[in-house]
């Protein structure tokens, strides 16, 4: 067997191991309590359920990511967040790109059924994701997002549909925007 063929065959075996490992890890995560890094997790089970008055969400501006779970389907993911005027927002970017259309399914699922649970610092909050389609009045939020995550969000990217913005409003409300 030539050296080139040996390297080719060896590479295929390595590829088989890597693909198997990645698929297995992704499937395993679906049955865990929440997400880990990039793979979606299962329902958020552990943690106290917040039942008190609506908190001032500005504390999430000091937190890199939160865990977000939809009720339909019961899958969770780690996600960026920011708060302005005491409200909490989550979003999904690159929605007009091929990667966004193939990779990101939760925004469309959230638009169909916005019932969600978020977990922050081990505390779970029942929320209703309400999509904001207009960037008008979102300048302060997008500026905060850019400062916090070095992203390039603008009200125009919300208008164009490239950035899907959601207010994680209290459950059973229509949102405030």
């Amino acid at each position: 067997m030539s050296v080139v063929k040996k390297v080719g065959v060896g590479s295929l075996w390595v590829l088989l191991v890597l693909v198997t490992a990645i698929v297995t890890a992704a499937v395993k995560q679906r049955f865990d309590d929440g997400p880990n890094r990039v793979f979606s997790g299962g329902a958020l089970v552990s943690g106290e359920l917040h039942l008190g008055p609506e908190p001032d969400w500005s504390f999430v501006n000091d937190i890199a990511t939160i865990e977000l779970q939809l009720l339909e389907p019961e899958q969770s993911r780690r996600i960026w967040t920011a708060s302005v005027d005491g409200k909490v927002y989550v979003w999904s970017g690159y929605m007009n790109s091929l990667v966004g259309k193939l990779w990101k399914s939760w925004p469309a699922q959230a638009e169909r059924d916005g019932r969600a649970v978020i977990r922050v610092d081990g505390v779970r909050y029942e929320r209703q994701l309400v999509r904001i389609k207009s960037g008008a009045g979102m300048e302060e939020l997008t500026a905060l997002m850019n400062e916090k995550y070095s992203s390039q969000a603008t009200p125009a990217t919300i208008d164009s549909g490239d950035l899907w913005m959601f207010e994680a409003a209290p459950r059973n409300t229509a949102g405030a925007h």
Binding site: L16, L18, A21, T24, K28, R37, V38
Partner: protein, 42 residues
């Protein structure tokens, strides 16, 4: 050829079991995947 299929099945099974059973392997695999995605998207 049949021997090849058996070897493939064995590699898949051992790899999957390792990820499922050995603590920390799943996290390491996810970290590797995260880095690959980051590199590919940059």
């Amino acid at each position: 050829m049949q021997n090849l299929y058996v070897r493939i099945a064995a590699v898949v099974a051992v790899t999957a079991l390792s990820v499922l059973v050995i603590p920390g392997v799943d996290d390491a695999v996810e970290l590797f995947f995260q880095i690959v995605v980051l590199v590919a998207s940059s």
